[in-house]
Symmetry: C2
Subunit: 302 residues, 2 copies
C-alpha cells in the first residue's frame, strides 16, 4: 500500500469516527448541560484515534459490518477519553495541557470534569448495549464485546495499569517486568481490545481460533510499541508537535522504557516489536492497511 493510499484510508476512518463522535456529543438543552459540554470537550480533543481506527481496520480486513464496528469504535473512544480526563486531574497526573490545549479540568470546574469522565464511561456502555443501534450483530456478540471491553478497561486492565503507574513514580527499583505489566494494562489492554472488537464485529469471537489469536498478538505488540514510541518522543520530540512539554515524564519521575533501557535500547525494542506485530498478520488476505499503520506508528513524530 502506497503512502498516499494509506493516508487516504486513514483519513476516511478519521472522518467517519469524528462524524459519529460529533453526533453523539451534541449538548442537549438540559439543566445538567455543563457536564455534556465537558464530555464534548473531552471527545472533540482530536488525537490520532488509534483505538477506533484499529477496530474499523480489523473489521474491514475480516469482512465484518462497517457500521456496527463504527459504533463500537466510538464507544471505545469514549472510554479512552474518559481515562484521559481522569488521568489529568489534580489528584492524578495533574496535567494542564494535552494535545496542545488545556485539559478538561482547566476549562471546566474540577468536579464537572470528574463527572464528565464518569459520563463518558457510562455513555460507552449505553452505546454498546443499545441493540437498535446495530445492523447485523447478534445480542450474543454484543454481550461478548461489552464483556471484553469492560474487562480491558477495568481494574484488571487499564485502571490496574494506572494504579501501577502511580505507585511506580519516584521508585528506582522498577524492573522491566513491572514496566511491561504497567503498560500492558494501562495502554496495551484497550488497544488490544479495540482490535479484538474488530474481530468480533466480523463474527470471529472464539479467542482460541487462529485468526483471533493472530489479532491479539498483533495488537498486543502494537500497543507496547506505541507506548515505547511515546516514551521516546517524550525525550526527543518537538513540544509544538506533541502538544505538551517535552521531558514531562522525567519531571514527574515517571519510569519509562527510555529510563530503563536507554534511548538506543528503547529504539531497538520498538523496531523489534513493530516487526513482530506485522509478522503476526501473515496469512490474512488484505493486511496492507494494518501493516502500513504499524509503520506509521513507528515513524510518527507526535
Amino acid at each position: 500500500m502506497s503512502s498516499m493510499e494509506f493516508s487516504l484510508q486513514y483519513r476516511k476512518y478519521l472522518d467517519d469516527i469524528n462524524h459519529e463522535i460529533t453526533k453523539l456529543s451534541a449538548v442537549p438543552d438540559v439543566l445538567q448541560k455543563s457536564v455534556f459540554s465537558a464530555m464534548e470537550y473531552g471527545l472533540q480533543g482530536g488525537g490520532k484515534r488509534i483505538r477506533p481506527v484499529l477496530t474499523l481496520a480489523v473489521c474491514e480486513m475480516l469482512g465484518g459490518c462497517y457500521q456496527d464496528a463504527l459504533r463500537v469504535a466510538c464507544a471505545i473512544e469514549c472510554i479512552h477519553n474518559y481515562s484521559l480526563i481522569h488521568d489529568d486531574l489534580p489528584c492524578m497526573d495533574d496535567d494542564a495541557m494535552r494535545r496542545g490545549r488545556p485539559t478538561c479540568h482547566m476549562v471546566f470546574p474540577e468536579n464537572i470534569a470528574l463527572l464528565a469522565g464518569d459520563g463518558l464511561l457510562n455513555l460507552a456502555f449505553e452505546l454498546l448495549s443499545d441493540k437498535s443501534g446495530y445492523t447485523t450483530l447478534s445480542a450474543e456478540s454484543i454481550l461478548t464485546l461489552i464483556c471484553c471491553i469492560s474487562r480491558a478497561s477495568g481494574a484488571w486492565g487499564m485502571i490496574g495499569g494506572q494504579v501501577i503507574d502511580l505507585e511506580s513514580e519516584g521508585r528506582s527499583d522498577v524492573t522491566k517486568e513491572r514496566l511491561l505489566a504497567l503498560h500492558g494494562r494501562k495502554t496495551g489492554d484497550l488497544i488490544r481490545v479495540s482490535a479484538e472488537c474488530g474481530c468480533i464485529c466480523a463474527g470471529i469471537s472464539d479467542p482460541n481460533s487462529e485468526e483471533y489469536a493472530k489479532i491479539v498478538t498483533f495488537s498486543s505488540k502494537l500497543g507496547l510499541a506505541f507506548q515505547i514510541k511515546d516514551d521516546i518522543l517524550d525525550v526527543i520530540g518537538e513540544e509544538s508537535r506533541l502538544g505538551k512539554p517535552v521531558g514531562s515524564d522525567q519531571s514527574c519521575e515517571k519510569n519509562t522504557f527510555v529510563t530503563l533501557m536507554g534511548l538506543e535500547g528503547a529504539k531497538e525494542e520498538l523496531a523489534r516489536l513493530t516487526q513482530e506485530a506485522k509478522d503476526a498478520l501473515c496469512g490474512f488476505e488484505k493486511p496492507n492497511f494494518l501493516l502500513a499503520l504499524a509503520d506509521y506508528l513507528l515513524h510518527r513524530d507526535y
Copy 2:
C-alpha cells in the same frame, strides 16, 4: 405481612447480597492490589442496600429467576458505591465520614479512591455482560438491562443529578421543579432502574406493559420519598445512627426539601408519596414485602 416476617425477608435479601458482594470483592494478589482493596472497602461499607433489595423483591414478586436478579442487584450496588466514592471526593462534597466510618479517600490515597470508583463502574458492566453468570436470562434481556442501567447512571440520570446538585449549592432561587429534577436524577433514577431490572429479570421488559408501568410508578415515588426522608433525617436525626454529622446539608448550603417546604411540608410530602407508591402496587398478587418496605423506609431513623 407482620413486622417479623418483613424483617426476616429483608435479612435474607441482605445476607444473599452481602454474600455475593464478598465473593466479588475478593482482593487478588496482583501489582494493582491497592485499587481492589479500595473497591472492597467501598463495597463492604454496609448500608441499607435498598437498590439491590428492590431488584430482588420485584423479581420475586413477579416470579423471575432469583439467581439472575441477584447478579444484576450486585452490579447495581457496585454502581451505587462507585457514585458514593466519587461524591465524597475533595473536589465533590469533600466528606470525611459516611455510614459511621471514614470515606474511601480518607483511608486510601485520593487517586486510588478515584480509580476504585472507576473500577466499580467497570466491574458492574463486566458482571452484567458475562453471559456465563446467568441461569435463564436471554442475551436480549441482558442487553436491555445494561442499556437501562447505563442510561440511569449516566449523564442523563444519576450523574446529571449530581451536576444539578453541585450547581445548586448556595443558590437561593432553587425551585421545587429544579429540586425534583435534581433528586429524580441523582437518587431517583438508580432506585427506579433497580426495580425495573427486577421486572426485566422476570421477563417483563416492555415499558408500555401495565405491570412494567406500575413498577416504574412505584419505584419513582419511592425514590423521591427516600430522598425527602434523608433530608428530614439530616435535620432531626441522631448523629450516632446516621453515621455522619446532623445538619451537614445546611452547613454546605445544600438545597433540600426541608429548606424548600419546611419540616412539616416535607413530612406531608413524604407521607403522600409513600402512599402513592403503595397504591401503584394494586393488582399484583404478592405485593406484601414491597408494601412493607415502603413503610419501613417511611419510618426509618437512619
